[in-house]
Amino acid sequence: MSTISREEVAHLARLARLEVTDDELDAFAGQLDVILESMKTLAEVNTDGVQPTSHAVPLVNVFREDQPQPSLPREDVLAGGPDTAEDRFRVPRILDEEA
């Protein structure tokens, strides 16, 4: 039995805000299945009493003084945007008409 189905891949793509084509779904489902199969080998490893590692080098919180500093010039930042208006990023409507 496969670890991941075409439908699951489609669901995950939706969660990740990725449109995927039918061809991609077919390809990804098979490829991800191979990859996930290899990952199942981790279940063999005894990790009782082991603490997780989230970062290579253990660090506690790093604090700094909260001092105001100049931010990037607004025009420099907006220059990278795909669409801007009135000194802001312009975005498509957020809510559907019927919502």
Partner: protein, 510 residues
């Protein structure tokens, strides 16, 4: 004197400092080399002739005025396109960032600029640094200067190819699972992944934040060490930066060049050794010959056991895509880069999905889906959570090993540069390229790849792994190995046929 482009960065720096060459002459020589051969190699996504020459002229004026600008002043450098450079296009080789001009510099870019090194341009890579062949660049493939039918490694194939083809004496790479070392190995160049946290991630386009590490690409260990010291060191803008002195890598490379490793214990990993029958025989042969050389230099070989290394690959391919799926959420078509489907008919969420469909290539999509899976409710404990636990065991394996040995050695990658298209159909086969490099990333320690020999006429790399903040030992061993070679392997690459394709060069990046 040899051609300018044949000289090492250390030699060029001395030539410039002592007035035998100007930085403008040096920089022009590399720019001309790019113009002559990059139509074939295609290592650069963008070339900044004007900017590079402007910096070079500044250096020459300062040298003429008797100023000492530092160890690499005037020596030009290529920068991987995942590092942001103010005013220079930065895309991470993705369509989603095509045309983006960063409004700020990465910390390492600032340090390169402060060191007065002319930036030649930005190098090609696998999109968002995900891949081992640079075939996943959204723009074009980079070829291996040793054989134009083969891959230059990845993700930093452009930086490695640029140095191998002598279009740059130095380059910047980034290494998340092997993206500096594996391209180094397959192009006959030197590459170092420094200790995680010792080189700032500020201004790197994020792939996997707990693993990403920028580092040097060069023709030999000493050049790499000189660049390492320029870019390395604490940065308060990187919250995971280590506030500690930079290990003395330049001194270590010089010590290593004396060719004496007596008293040094080098570990070979039992679990790797028993897997070498699955690697290419020619690679293993070249590696074993390298080990013999190290023994002749006085090193003692000690077998260490690292049982969890067997699980490093699946551990990495859960952690890295999980972090990537989160990091790449920022490409939503709002603040920078591409926006697709904004025709007044689609909602913001639909535009985001259409933008990401149009802007991301197949490997990036695969990893986003994989990471989303590994982090989703019901699977997170079995996959991402389990990977974090196994990561601890891998770290412990390293820590135990370094109680017995000074450094650990292995081949850098199981196979020589493969042919284009050979592994793109089966992502898992591509992932195997990083089999020996990934454990170090999960641990956080340093690892370098140094050319050790040839197999089928193609370069093979030997990897030296060190303890956290023990970068100097890796440079020492690498430089010692180089001292056994009559000629640097990087100097024996076949000459690129200089098909003068100036137009291709001029059109790029515009």
């Amino acid at each position: 004197m040899s051609r300018i482009i044949d000289r090492t960065a250390a030699e060029l720096a001395a030539d410039i400092r002592e007035g035998r060459l100007t930085s403008v002459e040096v920089t022009t020589a590399f720019l001309d080399r790019i113009a002559a051969v990059d139509g074939t190699v295609k290592a650069f996504l963008h070339v900044d002739r004007e900017g590079a020459l402007a910096t070079a002229a500044e250096v020459d004026a300062a040298v003429a005025a008797g100023q000492d600008l530092g160890p690499l002043a005037g020596v030009p450098i290529a920068v991987k396109d995942v590092v942001v450079t103010k005013g220079l296009p930065t895309t991470a080789a993705s369509k989603i960032l095509e045309g983006w001009i960063p409004p700020y510099d990465a910390t390492i870019t600032e340090r390169i600029k402060a060191a007065k090194m002319p930036i030649l341009g930005k190098t090609n890579m696998d999109e968002f640094a995900m891949g081992s062949s640079t075939e996943y660049s959204a723009f074009f493939k980079t070829v291996n200067p040793w054989d134009t039918g083969r891959i230059p490694g990845g993700s930093g194939g452009g930086s490695a190819a640029a140095v191998a083809a002598k279009m740059a004496p130095l380059a910047i790479g980034t290494d998340t699972g092997g993206s500096i070392r594996q391209p180094g190995a397959v192009t006959g160049t030197f590459g170092a992944k420094p200790t995680y946290g010792s080189n700032s991630r500020y201004g790197l386009i994020a792939f996997s934040s707990s693993l990403d590490t920028p580092g040097p690409v060069s023709r030999n260990a000493l050049d790499g060490a000189l660049l390492h010291e320029v870019i390395s060191g604490y940065d308060p803008r990187d919250s995971t930066a280590i506030d500690a002195p930079v290990p003395p890598v330049v001194e270590a490379a010089k010590t290593g060049a004396n060719g004496d490793l007596s008293g040094l214990k080098l570990g070979v990993v039992k679990e790797f050794e028993s897997s070498y029958d699955k690697a290419e025989p020619g690679v293993v042969e070249a590696y074993r010959a390298g080990v013999e050389q190290l023994v002749k230099l006085g090193a003692e070989i000690v077998e260490v056991s690292c049982p969890s290394f067997t699980y490093a690959l699946p551990t990495y391919y859960l952690i890295a895509p999980s972090e990537a799926s989160s990091n790449l959420a920022r490409y939503d078509g709002v603040r920078y880069g591409l926006r697709a489907g904004d025709d007044g008919q689609h909602s913001l969420e639909e535009v985001m999905s259409l933008t990401r469909e149009a802007g991301f290539g197949p490997e990036v999509k695969r990893r986003i889906i994989l990471g989303t899976y590994a982090l989703s409710a019901g699977y997170v404990d079995a996959f991402y959570g389990k990977a974090q636990l196994v990561r601890t065991l891998i770290k412990q394996d390293f820590e135990k090993a370094f109680e017995q040995v000074d450094a650990i050695i292995s081949p850098t990658t199981p196979f020589i540069a493969f042919k284009f298209g050979e592994r793109t159909g089966d992502p898992y086969q591509m992932y195997l390229a990083d089999l020996y490099t990934i454990p170090t990333n999960l641990y956080g320690g340093p690892g370098v790849s140094v050319p050790v020999g040839l197999s089928e006429g193609m370069p093979v790399g030997l990897q030296v792994m060190g303890p956290v903040m023990g970068d100097d030992i890796t440079y020492r061993v690498a430089a010692a190995l180089e001292s056994t070679q009559d000629t640097l392997l990087a100097d024996t690459a076949p000459e690129i046929s200089a098909n003068l394709r100036l137009t291709a060069f001029d059109e790029k990046g515009k």
